[in-house]
Amino acid sequence: MEQFLQQMINGISIGSIYALVALGYTMVYGIIKLINFAHGDVMMIGAYVGYACVALFNIPFIPSMLIAMVVCSILGVIIERVAYKPLRNAQRITVLITAIGVSFLLEYVMMYFVGATSKTYPQGALGAGKLSLGALSINVEQVYVITTTIIMMIVLQYIIKRTKLGKAMRAVSSDQDAAQLMGISVDRTISFTFILGSSLAAVAGVMLGAMYTISPLMGVQPGLKAFVAAVFGGIGSIPGAMLGGILLGLIETLVSAYLSSSYKDAVAFAILIIVLIVRPAGILGKNVREKV
């Protein structure tokens, strides 16, 4: 039982990182119907910026994270403006291929500058030690990850539900033309979506980097997993991405603890395919009928 609870905590902490990245996927998909393949790599850039701040400039962890968020937001907007905006009315496949291209571009440009070897954050960058709760022992790192994620989600919910920009986002995602007629600047709203998504990815990247190691290709697997999480929860739905991320983290951890760790990655993709075939709208998504 203790081991089970322990695994649950591990699952929730990795799941919250998936959830943070998945939010970026789901918001962008909700608003411009694009699978932003480069999102995982924006996360990677965030991890490197955080690393540079913490390890090279000795900036404390929280300000480093904020710097990473700013840098990634700018990067996200640049990507959107340069690569996606000219293709807004193009075919979906074109934009998808462009996104794959951007993703590779980020990875290999980064590899050119920092090399392919992986680096580690200074020991205990994200807090060290363990908290014991009865028989359970929780890493301080995990506590930080889970708390940060919860704070981020509350802030995000607030922005989307209570602010004018959030309202604009919801309007644009439900009907772009109508939103424009009501005087909403679609371009600015889309850029804002990218800012939100990329800064969440930066947070995830910095935390992931501090827990494990960073390398130019670190964004690929978590990026794909986070996308699976977004689909699992219902793509386009923000609570869905949160739920999907945490569930995926839990399932993955439990599979690797009780069944086989080598099939951990396969499980995520198997879930993806089953969800896509059985219920493409995901857990919390709305089922939209196709009109002929």
Partner: protein
Amino acid sequence: MKNKSITKSLIGLVSVAVAYVLIKILMLPQVNVINPFYQTIVLKMFIDITLALGLNLITGITGQFSLGHAGFMSIGAYSAALFVMKTSDSLLNVLLAALIGACAAAFIGFLIGIPTLRLKGDYLAIATLGLGEIIRIVVQNVDQNLLGGAAGLSGIPLYTNFEVVFFGAVITFIVIRNLLKSSFGRACIAVREDEIAAESMGINLTNIKILAFVVGTFFAGLAGAMYSGYVGVIQPKDFGFMKSIDILMIVVLGGLGNIWGTVIAAIALNVLSVALQDFAEVRMIIYAALLVLIMLFKSGESPLFVKLRRIFSLPKLKLSMFSKK
């Protein structure tokens, strides 16, 4: 009418023979234009052509976006390598191995195609991506003694020579070209252009999609079989997501649905990779930038791209299958 097509086939056969003889002469040690180092690139080029033609049938011609092509290649590679290692690398066995590899990939493609091809557009892309990864993980873990786990298979006889890849690629090209001219090929294009219209003209969408997928994966398996006899060592990680993107890149560069374009793009990319062999990291940056620039150039809507297109007088990329509804 009949005479015309016979003449055409004759011209085709003659040009294949001429190409074969020409490359063979260039490869002669006395001529030494294609030296042994370039020969390995030429072999890889023909394997790439085979792979990309298969993917072009699925993605370019039938419009089913697949990101898991490398997974099917790995099935072909592993089954052919196992067959040759358990028997011998006589010519008959090599041919059999190629056939076994191709059929194994096609069979898995058939099993996977039935449920997944119900999906459309980017959902299908993601599902095939996931399947490609699942194939890789399963190959890596299923039977460590037989398939060698993450270390893969080594010591595969190097049975792939120039003839194998050349005729492999030529056969693939001829089959896909002829399919394209047949009623099946026209049905594929119809499915790509408009599924609803195609269905109302009496085309069975599921059958056409699955058949195209099976044929495409068959050639992926064939290419895989040629690949394992070419490198001698195969590992699951050689057939990951990145490899699928490499193949997709050839198809996209050559033009979706254009089989001559695929051939030219495969040649061009291999030439590029030789030219940039000293700058491996730069090569990937150039690839990625090319991918983005081509897409922007072909379908971008900002004034710059519109003007560029006018200068080169190219039409806007039109694939109505992916249009927004």
